[in-house]
């Protein structure tokens, strides 16, 4: 990967903090559980790191660590996404939509 100067990375980090608070404060209380599981899915982005570790691994130790990291991260991504989707499906129905 290319090397980004630390200051630039820190700038990005700080902007992300503000952006995060801004976006999240708009989420209604009703959707706080889907917000949790949705952000759970998003931190599955660590899969990118797992792929890099395992994909570039030469020795046994790194391969083992990378493998475990990859399993965990994939479970995080897949599980997080499907749980969120299941949950939001229930919220999608119109407010006054009565089954009977």
């Amino acid at each position: 990967m290319t090397h980004t100067p630390l200051v630039i990375e820190l700038t990005i980090l700080v902007l992300a903090i503000f952006l995060g608070f801004e976006v999240i404060s708009k989420v209604p209380t009703m959707l706080h559980t889907p917000l949790m599981s949705g952000t759970n899915f998003i931190h599955g982005i660590v899969i990118v790191g797992a792929i890099v570790v395992l994909g570039f691994a030469d020795d046994g130790v790194t391969k083992t660590i990378g493998f475990v990291a990859m399993v965990l991260a994939t479970a995080n991504v897949v599980g997080g996404w499907f749980v969120t989707d299941r949950m939001l499906e229930m919220f999608k129905r119109r407010p006054t939509d009565r089954e009977r």
Binding site: I17, G20, I24, L31, I45, V46, L54, M70, N76, F91
Partner: protein, 462 residues
Amino acid sequence: MISDPNVVGLLYLVAIVCFILALRFLSSPKNARRGNWIGGVGMLVAIGTTLALEGIGNWALLAIAAAIGTAIGLVGARTVKMTAMPQMVALFNGVGGGAAALVAFSEFHVSNGDVSSDEIVSIVLSSLIGSVSFAGSMIAFAKLQELLSGRPIVFRGQNVVNSAILLGAGGLGIALIAGLEAQWALVALIVLALLFGVMFVLPIGGADMPVVISLLNAFTGLAASATGFVLDSTVLIVAGMLVGASGTFLTLMMARAMNRSVANVLFGAFGQVQAGPAGERADDGRTVRATTPEDVAVQLSFARKVVVVPGYGMAVAQAQHDVRQLAEVLEERGVDVAYAIHPVAGRMPGHMNVLLAEANVPYDQLKEMDEINPEFAQTDVALVIGANDVTNPAARDQTSSPIYGMPILDVDKAASVIVMKRSMNPGFAGIDNELYLDPRTTMLFGDAKESVVKLIGAVKAQ
């Protein structure tokens, strides 16, 4: 094969934008699901881009690991009951944190400790926070799944032991940052961090879980973000930090809803010593009155306005569908039904909303605390289903009570209160509830689901 770093960067930018949109779409239930799909696309773009990086190998291992992870994730996500959602969230939190710590450790291992100063700071932070999140989430999972007791597990000198562990891990971290190029030090740091994760969740009681789960969520985000600095990956930095911000936001919100500081929740070992005032009040002549489903049915059927107050007990009994049915039967008789949702009812932020949404309760009937509290005065019957501490009037006036100051649902302002409860056991806070001795209160003992089913039958028979 993508070799141009600009192309890689742009594709990661696409992923970042998708994640932000995913969160943005969560501002309304209508578009939220579409948002999750956009987030999914972003994740696929990020994964695809990474796999296409020049020099990536070990394809067989990658495929096998991905297959195992997918199987675990799919089975978990598909089979979990909505009532078990808090432990599922805890589990996915944990695996993410664990993955972040492992990635950071392997970067240290590969470079044999020879890393730049800003890299080692990130490696230490990611290993530390990721490991705490992993171990803490596993304990939270075990508590919620009832593999471990949900009550606080405490011993003398706990805070001293915990501080020592954390200081040990912190000391190793500082030594590593100062230039100690030893792998054993990082391994020891991870072990101590894991231990700390276990120790810091053990003393936290079930009712405080919403705070802990949100906090662990924030930790995993921060660990992922720190990993981004190790790998020079902006998508990791930004996505991780979005999660960190969200988790922090929810943690503060939950703590505020309990009128306690985050530190008090984490280190206060709630429910430990509250024997005090309970004894004196128990024999002041007032007693708890039990009632029958038939009596309750009469009260409910002839009420104008009924407010249902759901709590964790409803989740445990999985009574949400029956509760909705009961509400419908009552509405057919012309009764006005609403649900009062306390921000910390249940075991995670928004827990009751998810359960009632699953049961198809129209969400215009769900009222938040500030909205419903003034309405209790005009309410004929408040039906408390498996909620305890969030209805305890002691929070309003008893300065000695451990929950003093916590905003509560003013159910005691209703003309009559019916509390459905398994037994007279106190709630997770381990304190008596004055509400049960109130002359307007009657208790309907038994499993919430069975009781509600009986109520439906009795109301129909009216």
